[in-house]
């Protein structure tokens, strides 16, 4: 498992205590594309389910995730696709 994926998982776990967390490194689908890095770990898909998202609009949910991962997004992570759910939503 890549170091960046692990950092994403640790930070999201600490910030949200998710009831479900799936992180997929989607970098290979973007190889050669602007923003893709040697060795991958530039594009991720995150599905996170956490009580913190209940009653929170979509934009705010995604912003919470982005804020938790600000360091990664400012650095190596070029794209982060986020699906943020409250328990029971999906």
């Amino acid at each position: 498992m890549g170091a960046i994926l692990e950092a994403i998982r640790d930070k999201l776990t600490a910030a949200f205590e998710p009831t479900r967390l799936e992180i997929v490194d989607d970098s290979s689908r973007h190889a050669g594309h602007a923003g893709a890095r040697e060795g991958g770990e530039s594009h991720f898909n995150v599905t996170i389910e956490a009580p913190a998202f209940a009653g929170t609009p979509r934009v705010a949910r995604q912003r919470m995730v982005y804020h938790a991962l600000a360091e990664e997004l400012a650095g190596p992570v070029h794209a982060l696709s986020v699906k943020a759910l409250a328990p029971g939503e999906g």
């Binding site: 973007h30 594309h33 602007a34 934009v59 982005y66 794209a79």
Partner: protein
């Protein structure tokens, strides 16, 4: 959003968002997106048949960084409807699939009935 009045890029973005009912900050031009996420968002807007203005943030580093701080949103594309931030590619896609995007645009009078 920034309170600082001294940021000319933010001023330009605020003005563009206010003047254009549907505006997409994206990578590349609508006719030739230069990123898959921007391309998907353009396809959705085209599919719904809504008129929109596309702003290519790759034309200027100041704009590319400025839109991120303006919206407090670190990724591109970014869609604004009637001055309100709707979201990026994930949210636009989700709202399209659920029918909410069409409803939103209709309610704002931006789609033919």
């Amino acid at each position: 959003m920034s309170e600082a009045a001294a940021n000319p890029v933010h001023d330009w973005i605020a003005k563009s968002v206010a003047e254009n009912p549907v505006i997409l900050f994206m990578k590349g031009e609508p006719e030739q997106p230069r990123c898959g996420f921007s391309a998907v968002t353009v396809q959705i807007l085209d599919h719904l048949g809504v008129e929109f203005v596309g702003v290519d943030v790759l034309q200027s580093d100041a704009l590319r960084e400025g839109i991120k701080s303006f919206s407090d949103w670190p990724t591109i594309p970014q869609l604004y409807v009637k001055g309100e931030f709707v979201g990026g590619c994930d949210i636009v896609r989700e709202m399209f699939q659920s029918g909410e995007l069409k409803t939103l645009l209709s309610e704002k009078g931006l789609l033919e009935a």
